[in-house]
């Protein structure tokens, strides 16, 4: 990778009070890539994603976006630099309609782009178009995940961070969601960094992957390579997959 990576995480350590969650994590995401971060419960995946977003703040190391150090910036400033986040548990606004949720996603966007971007999201997720006046909280889990992704896309991000998009969804819906994530990367040119427990789907989709264990990067490599790796298979894939 001669080109400067879009996102570079260098030696990041993060603490929750006295408990150290990340022990010097290094990873990079190049422009246009899909990178997956897999690992068991409590490995520090979500912590890493949230550290990239500035909350909690890294106590050591650096997070760089296109070379700019964003380690110490507050979340909303990081988002302003073209990073959109699909948070864990989706976190849509339950009392607001689908349309209003998407409007909220466009808070940072250019108003003139709104109609076009809305159309783009509705084309990607026709279900959302059908339910545009329905309250977010009354949608099914899969629809809420679509809404969370659609909302994140409304700001025209350069980098999309997804935290466990498959969480609590039926296998069929999981497949659909991953298919859409692939399309966002390939058709829209959005760089994607994805945190997943569902190693099979994540690694099949990703260009490259990292395996996180106990707050350290254990393995890294091309998605297919990791999928074939004996250690990964033993730890994250045996016992059937979706």
């Amino acid at each position: 990778m001669a080109e400067q990576p879009m996102l570079a995480v260098a030696g990041v350590t993060t603490f929750y009070g006295a408990i150290q969650a990340l022990h010097g994590v290094d990873l990079e995401v190049a422009r246009g890539e899909i990178v997956a971060l897999i690992g068991a419960n409590g490995a520090g995946k979500s912590t890493l994603l949230m550290t990239i977003c500035g909350s909690p703040r890294a106590s050591g190391g650096a997070v760089r976006l296109d070379g700019e150090d964003i380690t110490a910036l507050p979340t909303h400033e990081i988002v302003r630099r073209g990073v959109a986040q699909v948070p864990e548990g989706r976190r849509i606004f339950p009392r607001m309609s689908v349309f209003e949720n998407l409007q909220m996603g466009a808070t940072l966007g250019v108003p003139a782009h709104f109609a076009h971007d809305l159309e783009r999201v509705f084309t990607m997720f026709p279900r959302l178009a059908e339910r545009r006046d329905q309250r977010g909280g009354t949608l099914s889990g899969g629809e809420q995940q679509m809404l969370a992704i659609g909302r994140a896309l409304m700001s025209r991000p350069r980098l999309l961070l997804l935290d466990e998009p498959s969480l609590g969804l039926a296998p069929l819906i999981v497949r659909q969601i991953f298919e859409v994530i692939g399309r966002i990367a390939r058709e829209e040119g959005v760089t994607i960094f994805l945190v997943e427990q569902n190693a099979y789907h994540a690694l099949r989709l990703a260009d490259r992957g990292y395996v996180l264990a106990n707050g350290r990067v254990r393995l890294s490599g091309a998605g297919r390579e990791l999928l074939a790796n004996a250690e990964v298979r033993a730890a994250y894939l045996e016992g059937g997959h979706a």
């Binding site: 977003c53 909350s55 507050p74 979340t75 909303h76 988002v79 302003r80 959109a84 986040q85 948070p87 976190r91 849509i92 606004f93 339950p94 009392r95 607001m96 309609s97 349309f99 209003e100 409007q103 909220m104 996603g105 808070t107 940072l108 545009r132 006046d133 909302r151 994140a152 700001s155």
Partner: protein
């Protein structure tokens, strides 16, 4: 529940009531003279009536819950009749107690029925149309009624006074609704900003001779400034912590006003505050030096009610401005951000919203409207003292917002009419009016647990043929 079980349950309730009541109601100590000290006075008849009422009431509630509507209604009717009858009960209070218990039971028995009937009616085509028209036109009808009120025969001194009072609380409720209802920040010290506005006008008018219309915007800005000053340090806090700090802030403002005697005249308050003028003319029987009265200007005979009607229209316009402003804000990005913040702060940050600034604007704008209302209050009362800005005022305004259904504009109006109007209308009940007031509040929370108007109108819809409602 079968009848024996119901009787057992009612008996148990009556037993608990008797056990608790025997010390509170049954015995009373009386002073029998300086040498003999205290002796007991026995009120077992009172206790017996209360316990029987509780037994019947509990039985009636069980019957109603089991779907035995008619026995419950009959029981309620008997209780009302007994309470209202000339039959001598040991005290006047017991008449009220029995009658109100009966009313409660009747409402409970009839409620599911009425509810079903209403639900059924709204499903029929004409019912749907009526409901749509109702929600659409209700606000406008209310507004028309408010505008025409001074010209109706009911508009005497007492009614207009009450109307001005209610509208003041409607305005305060709408202002606090921005903070609590929209932005979801629990503010228990809202009255502080009301006080800032009131003292700003009182001081600027009595000491610097500024008029109401000059000071009004200044008072609003002053209150907004205090909102920002308070907001900066505390808006990082959430929920309970924020509530406690705002509660403290409300008290601090009151204590400063109370103790800074040089500036505020302390507990004695500030008097002879000039009222608002109409194009420079004052509302008075005899004109002060160098000014003319409104009756002279208009060539009509003096009547004390003119001043009240003028005040009424001022507060009506101020309240409407608050409402219009809020409705506009809800459609703007910052207003939407307030609502989003109430729903999920973490998600808001993930969307690039600066939560501190967003909360600060809500806080400052809410405070600004309290400042306007405060300076109106000072101009209306012509005398203010720290006693008008105690915590109970904050609590009442908050109750208006919560009972109205957080974030609902029309709900605030209904709740203000209920909460401010009821205690005034019930004044004939004497000491029992607060009991009736409490009962009304309990009833609202039992039957409309999410507020009078719990439905939230989307701020915007996509279909142009279905415009956003008045909310």
């Amino acid at each position: 529940m079968r009848l024996p079980a119901m009787l057992k349950d009612a008996g148990l309730t009556a037993f608990v009531a008797a056990a608790l009541g025997i010390f509170i109601v049954g015995f009373r100590t009386v002073d029998v003279g300086s040498s003999k000290g205290l002796s007991f006075d026995y009120h077992f008849a009172d206790l017996a009536v209360a316990v029987v009422t509780i037994f019947l009431g509990r039985l009636g509630l069980s019957l109603a819950a089991a779907g035995l509507r008619w026995p419950a209604i009959a029981l309620g009717a008997v209780m009302v009749a007994a309470g209202a009858s000339p039959l001598t009960l040991p005290s006047g209070f017991l008449h009220w107690f029995v009658a109100l218990g009966g009313v409660l039971l009747l409402i409970r028995a009839v409620w599911p029925w009425a509810n079903d009937a209403v639900t059924l009616a709204t499903r029929t085509p004409s019912g749907v149309a009526l409901k749509d028209a109702g929600t659409k036109w209700f606000g406008w009808l209310l507004l028309a009624g408010a505008v025409l009120l001074p010209f109706t025969p009911v508009a005497d001194q007492k009614t207009m006074d009450l109307a001005v009072l209610i509208l003041t609380y409607v305005m305060l409720g709408w202002g606090l609704n921005i903070v609590v209802g929209l932005a979801g920040l629990l503010d228990l010290g809202y009255v502080a900003f009301y006080a800032v506005g009131a003292y700003a006008y009182a001081l600027l008018s009595t000491q610097h001779g500024l008029g109401f219309w000059t000071v009004l915007p200044l008072a609003g800005m002053m209150a907004a400034l205090f909102g920002v000053l308070l907001g900066f340090p505390v808006l990082r806090l959430r929920g309970d912590y924020l509530a406690i700090v705002t509660l403290g802030f409300g008290e601090i403002i009151r204590l400063v006003i109370l103790n800074w005697v040089d500036l505020t005249n302390g507990p004695a308050g500030i008097g002879s505050i000039p009222g608002p003028t109409l194009f420079g003319a004052v509302f008075a029987e005899t004109p002060p030096a160098g000014k003319q009265t409104v009756s002279q200007m208009l060539g009509i005979s003096f009547d004390g009610i003119h001043r009240l009607i003028f005040l009424y229209y001022i507060i009506l316009v101020l309240a409407l401005i608050t409402n219009l402003f809020t409705q506009r804000m809800r459609r703007l990005p910052v207003g939407r951000a307030w609502e989003a913040l109430r729903e999920d702060e973490t998600a808001c940050r993930a969307l690039g919203i600066n939560p501190t600034n967003t909360k600060l604007t809500a806080f400052a704008i809410g405070a600004m409207f309290a400042g306007f209302a405060g300076s109106f209050f000072a101009a209306k009362q012509r005398f203010i003292s720290p006693e008008s800005f105690v915590f109970i005022e904050s609590a009442i305004i908050l109750a208006i917002v919560v009972l109205g259904g957080m974030g609902s504009q029309i709900g605030v109006v209904l709740a203000a009419v209920l909460l401010i109007g009821l205690p005034e209308w019930f004044r004939d009940l004497g000491n029992y009016r607060m009991l009736a007031f409490g009962l009304a509040m309990v009833l609202i929370m039992v039957f409309r647990p999410r507020g009078l108007v719990a439905h939230r109108e989307p701020s915007l819809r996509l279909h142009p043929n279905r415009p956003a409602g008045g909310g």
